[in-house]
Symmetry: C2
Subunit: 146 residues, 2 copies
Amino acid sequence: MLIIEKVLLLKNSEIFKNSRETDLVEIASICEECSFDKDVLIFSKGDKGNCMYFIYSGKVLIHDEGHEIVTLGENEIFGELSLLDTESRSASVTTLADCVLLKIEQEAFYDVIATNTDILKGIMRTLCKRLREQDRVTIEMKKVMS
Amino acid sequence: MLIIEKVLLLKNSEIFKNSRETDLVEIASICEECSFDKDVLIFSKGDKGNCMYFIYSGKVLIHDEGHEIVTLGENEIFGELSLLDTESRSASVTTLADCVLLKIEQEAFYDVIATNTDILKGIMRTLCKRLREQDRVTIEMKKVMS
């Protein structure tokens, strides 16, 4: 995959959509392309996580103890929390089709963002947005349950 | 309140607990002390938010359309998402007692973090932690509901 293709994939993701193309070239240069067959367990809940994945093609299932949490497809990302903090994986991920993924390792990522506040701010805004969405879901579920 | 007292309050909060004291002195210098009587609406859901609050003393209720979401007390914070992104308030806040709060305005905050990746990383880790907690709550609720 060319660097420019990687940049476009990153730009389409929620986490990097606010980042500038020049910053994304740096991130793209540390992305590693990797392929998985169908029905492969990529990581398990509780694993030490030190990378995140972008889905270039294919489909994966996020699951937890037999419960299906969500299905993700092209341009979507997973494992991003373990890239950003140092906690273990909070759910398991299995491929539902042959997949081509881009992998970003934590150490290389931290080298890039150490001097790049714009990327960090973009990520922070994305995390805030997801927290707001989660808060909304929790409040709605509480209303239904009460 | 002395700068050192403000630093200690910040250090006790989840959002800044991983930040260094030297960094917190910078943040403390932009904190404004403000008092509210009991039963005062500090902000309403939908308001444009451009600041966050630390509770030095007192108690507040976070609520949404008649639903009580959570009660917060000393050393806790609220309004932090609107400090970090540019969205409107996702819930309303009313004092349950006389309160002394520390207020941080967005513009001053961004000036400080523009050159300080460590503070940004600490905040990012905190947001990740909250997202993980929220994910856990959502999964548990889904299990209960199914």
